[in-house]
């Protein structure tokens, strides 16, 4: 079993599109995949489950992988979280800068 901690980086959180991406990727692996947030654990291969986690930007999640290809699964899925589900771009960075008082 592998456990990994990740943080949601994309602004809109695990809404429909990222949830679909995550479930699609997870379903490619044979291993079981679970996501835990604040003590609630859901099946990471269920889009309804993932969406109902209400994981917004900044949420910390514990990912749990169990099965024959758990290492590959963990690597791929953590990378997807790291990439911010393809939503990280100039806009997001600018917002952070604004937060630090560089607002225009």
């Amino acid at each position: 079993m592998i456990k990994k901690e990740v943080e949601i980086k994309n602004r809109t959180g695990l809404h429909t599109r990222p949830a679909a991406m995550l479930v699609k990727l997870a379903s490619k692996f044979k291993s079981d995949f679970f996501i835990e947030k604040n003590g609630v654990e859901i099946n990471g291969k269920s889009i309804i489950g993932v969406m109902s986690l209400a994981a917004e930007q900044g949420s910390k999640l514990v990912l749990r992988f169990e099965g024959e290809d758990e290492e590959e699964a963990a690597k791929a899925i953590v990378a997807l979280f790291e990439s911010g589900f393809g939503e990280l771009d100039g806009l997001k960075n600018e917002e952070n800068k604004d937060g630090q008082g560089q607002s225009h």
Binding site: H15, A20, S46, I48, M51, S52, A54, L91, E94
Partner: protein
């Protein structure tokens, strides 16, 4: 039953319908717990799986319809529902439970899905709360399919649908049937039903407040989408009057066909360019087929979805699509005109969003958003047929600052050797009283003006037209509004820059004459209004229009203005009274 009771609402989509009412209520399917015998289990699972498949195919149909009518962004909600139906984990869980607990599928579905709905509802997150509605709808859809119940949205004969409110899905679904019209208790001009009904060309009256209380399924009703009224169980002579009206309108529309592709020139030779307002790239074809000589307003807000703004490349592709289709005509692309709550939905809330952080104000505060959009627009301008326009300008500082960002975006593209139109025309929307009053000065800073009458009226009269309670005092012919428009046109003419009107007012036959008389060069209207506007312009003399609009400025109330126009135009536009 009161014979011929009239209920007043808001005219949301033009047209007249006479027909039998169908009251639409969203009933929740009844779910009773039922124990199964061992031999019934496999049949129950089969019923469940078939219901999933049936629901999926229904949703795919809705999705196709929605993409057609709304574009792919507007159809996302249905895509999400289809994805949820593919949730193997939950489907397997439900199958397992049916096997183990030996209970009927409806009950298990209800029990299992309700947990997630509750999760979402309790999350405190607006987005998820909306998704909880979607999941609830989806659950009800599957359960109804298990129960093999007839869908309320299916009816064989033509009907006028009367409902408290309609979701986008309802509105789209009904349009598969012979729906004659929509009447709803709630909603304003900009509600989903209103926008969709116009796109679907189905007459609609919204904001009727008590329609569902006063109407029973089977009542005969007349829905007048021009006046915004509903007549319940009308007398025979009223029905006949309306039947004649429908005939006259049909004849009139046939005649309009001839005006589609002719230039709009007054009898005495003044040419007015007629452009189209569009919301989605998909609408360009309709615009061109209706005789538009370009796009006078391309609203870009549709791109923003669930608070996410696509990156520059994706935006560029969307804008380029429109620019290429419109070529050799021009397209005026307006930068995002939304409230902050639409982009920063996770945390941004305002008491009074229409007077708040919206339009160019957001762009100037969040330059990365503005710059990436400007770069995308510039890149789409390679064929030199793209103009760019800033919304919600209220002071000259904003104009100057926005222009700096254009220069900056240009420099950034140059650095990367990306081609664009160096001389792209830069203009502003005149839609606040302050920008109208400062038009003379602003005209020296920009290449063109476009008067957005919807907002100009709203801000000048302090009337929210989406608010049913006050929508009636939203007066486009208010003397204050006319004087502002006249002043803006005069200021543009002095600075020798083109000026257009892109609000809904431009599509009002009375207003057409006024606006031409004021000296506007271009009118930008909804595609389907184009033939009518061209016909009117070809019927009048510029000389007369000038005289009429000059006289119209002296009146003190909207009623006086309208009465005057009615009298003057009766001779000029004989068919005006439909």
């Amino acid at each position: 039953m009161v014979k011929g009771k009239v209920i007043e609402g808001i005219p949301a989509s033009p047209g007249i319908a006479i027909g039998i009412a169908l009251k639409y209520e969203k009933l929740k399917p009844k779910v009773v717990k039922k124990e199964l015998k061992e031999e019934e289990v496999s049949g129950e699972i089969e019923r469940f799986l078939m219901a999933i498949e049936r629901s999926k195919s229904e949703l795919r149909k809705i999705l196709t319809l929605a993409v057609e009518k709304l574009g792919s962004k507007g159809a996302e909600i249905f895509e999400a529902q289809i994805l949820m139906l593919d949730d193997k984990t939950i489907i397997n869980k439900i199958i397992e439970r049916i096997k183990e607990e030996k209970l009927n599928a409806e009950f298990i579905i209800q029990d299992e899905i309700e947990k997630y709905i509750k999760f979402m509802q309790d999350s405190g997150d607006d987005y998820l709360k909306e998704r909880a509605h979607d999941l609830e709808d989806l659950k009800n859809r599957v359960i109804r399919n298990i129960q093999q119940q007839k869908w309320l949205s299916r009816f064989d004969t033509s009907r006028i649908v009367v409902a408290e409110n309609l979701t986008p899905a309802d509105t789209i679904l009904f349009s598969r049937n012979q729906v004659l019209g929509y009447a709803t208790d709630l909603g304003g001009m900009t509600s989903h039903t209103a926008i969709l009904a116009r796109a679907l060309k189905i007459p609609a009256v919204v904001g009727l407040k008590e329609a569902t209380k006063s109407i029973k399924t089977g009542d005969l009703v007349i829905l007048d989408g021009y006046k915004g009224i509903l007549i319940i169980n009308p007398e025979q002579d009223v029905v006949e009057e309306y039947q004649n009206k429908i005939k006259r309108i049909a004849e009139f529309e046939r005649k309009l066909e001839d005006f589609k592709f002719v230039p709009a020139v007054t009898i005495d030779g003044r040419k007015i360019t007629i452009l189209a307002n569009i919301e989605f790239p998909e609408e360009v074809n309709e615009a061109l087929e209706s005789g538009a000589e370009g796009v006078g307003l391309f609203r870009t807000e549709y791109i923003i979805s669930n608070g996410t703004i696509p990156e520059e490349d994706e935006q560029f592709e969307e804008y380029l699509k429109v620019a290429e289709k419109v070529y050799p005509y021009k397209v005026v692309i307006r930068t995002f005109d939304v409230g902050g709550d639409k982009i920063f939905r996770d945390y941004h809330r305002e008491e009074n969003p229409f007077l708040g952080w919206r339009g160019i104000r957001i762009g100037l505060d969040k330059p990365e958003i503005l710059l990436s959009q400007l770069r995308a627009i510039l890149r789409a301008s390679v064929k030199k047929n793209v103009w760019v326009m800033f919304p919600m300008v209220s002071s000259i500082d904003e104009v100057r600052e926005a222009k700096k960002y254009i220069d900056m975006a240009k420099a950034q593209l140059k650095e990367k050797n990306i081609p664009f139109d160096e001389n792209i025309k830069v203009g502003v929307m005149i839609e606040t009283p302050s920008s109208a009053l400062m038009a003379k000065e602003i005209a020296r800073e920009v290449d063109f003006f476009s008067i957005g009458t919807n907002d100009l009226v709203q801000y000048t009269l302090a009337v929210d037209r989406g608010n049913e309670t006050v929508a009636k005092i939203f007066q486009e012919f208010h003397p204050a509004v006319l004087r502002l428009i006249q002043f803006v046109v005069e200021s543009a003419q002095r600075a020798k820059i083109p000026v257009s009107v892109c609000g809904e007012m431009a599509a009002d036959p009375f207003a057409t004459v006024l606006l031409v008389g004021f000296g506007l060069d271009e009118l930008s209207v909804a595609p389907k209004m184009i033939p009518e506007i061209k016909r009117i312009i070809k019927t009048i003399k510029f000389k007369d229009a000038k005289r009429i609009s000059k006289r119209a400025l002296v009146f003190k109330t909207q009623d006086e203005v309208k009465n005057f126009l009615m009298k003057e135009l009766k001779g000029i536009i004989p068919e005006i009274e439909i």
